[in-house]
Amino acid sequence: MRRHTRRVHNLCCRFTGNAAAAEDLSQEVFIRVYRTLASYQSAQGAFTTWLTSITRNLLVDHYRRTRRDRQTDSIDALSQFDERPSPARTPDSWAEASELSAQVQRALTQLSPELREAVILRDLQGLDYDEIRVVLQVPEGTVKSRINRGRIELARVLEEMGFRPT
């Protein structure tokens, strides 16, 4: 469980942009996994994919429930993430990277949930197109289309925020 906790927690943090909501959702994910573990069959796919599907479904439900209460430009929520720098980074580069991370996270939360989840699953979680197809329950063509449009939209939002890719 501990091995998957961080993965699920990262997915919840990047999707919601809120640390407190991500903690609650992470807990809810594993409660649901505990209750429905008997229904999992290895023929359905890898356990990681099944776990990601449950996480994604709860994230979508949470998004729909909190649509009116959502804060799309909340910098305070983003600052609660416990991001750890890599050992190769210097403190100055880490501060700059931290600011860029916050900027990218803010841009991510401005995407629609369909595009946001596609970009997160592909570029952050590292899932391939087939796994994303299983998680999202859509054809592979739709997966590619959403990833494409999500990346273009993310680049547009970041350009409006003054982001310049290095």
Binding site: E83, Q105, F163
Partner: protein, 234 residues
């Protein structure tokens, strides 16, 4: 194959990830070499994708795992309690139950053996148990009545309230004494006295006995040794 800007947008992910077929890749390269828009778009989106993939990993709070374990254990316990009144039965291990019963029985045996009160085989007969319990109940009641009656204070109060006249006392009452109480003022209890005897003045004697009772409370209860239970009761 002809390539255009619309195709660049539609196949942008394949362009960035190098998933174009050979013919498509050459068509794209030919188009991109003369199209600043597509070149700028590919560079911009490529930079964003690279930056997103470099986002640092978020560490979960240290209490999250504990919360999850506690929540899953609580969920399983709620499921068990929802199964019905006898949901606790499976939780009792037969081995543990047997060990507990044996331990209790051995403890009782040791205690009774130490007290010298091991029950005889005939004493375990249900009829004998009933008669024994009935006899003990009556014995306990009799002891309680005897204790109450033996209380020194009760005896004093009763003796003061219903004192018998002294053998050397004058039959006629003193001049300062209260007039005789009417028969209706007598206490209707088992200590009824013959009508020929003068009833004690209720007011003065009750006040005096109440004062003595109060003094007894202040000074403490007197020790009243209880008589031993006659062996015939046992």
């Amino acid at each position: 194959m002809n390539w255009n800007c619309t195709l660049t947008e539609e196949r942008l992910s394949d362009v960035l990830e190098g998933r174009l077929a050979a013919a498509e890749a050459s068509a794209y390269s030919a188009h991109a070499s003369g199209c600043d828009r597509c070149t700028r778009l590919v560079a911009q989106v490529g930079g964003v994708v690279q930056r997103v993939r470099q986002l640092p990993e978020i560490y979960e709070p240290p209490f999250l795992a504990s919360r999850i374990i506690a929540a899953t254990r609580g969920a399983s316990m709620q499921r068990q309690s929802a199964k019905g009144w006898f949901s606790w039965l499976p939780a009792i291990s037969p081995m543990r139950l047997a060990m507990g019963v044996v331990t209790v029985a051995v403890s009782f045996f040791v205690v009774f053996h130490a007290l010298g009160a091991l029950p005889r085989r005939m004493a375990l007969n249900p009829v004998n148990l009933y008669y024994s319990a009935n006899r003990h109940i009556h014995l306990t009641y009799a002891r309680g009545v005897k204790i109450v009656n033996d209380l020194h204070v009760v005896y004093m109060i009763q003796s003061r309230l219903f004192a018998e006249p002294q053998p050397n006392a004058e039959p006629t009452p003193a001049p300062d004494r209260q007039p005789e109480a009417t028969p209706q003022q007598h206490s209707p209890d088992s200590y009824a006295r013959p009508k020929t005897q003068a009833a004690p003045p209720a007011g003065h004697r009750s006040t005096q006995s109440a004062a003595e009772f109060a003094m007894l409370i202040v000074s403490g209860w007197p020790a009243s040794p209880l008589d031993e239970i006659p062996r015939s009761y046992l």
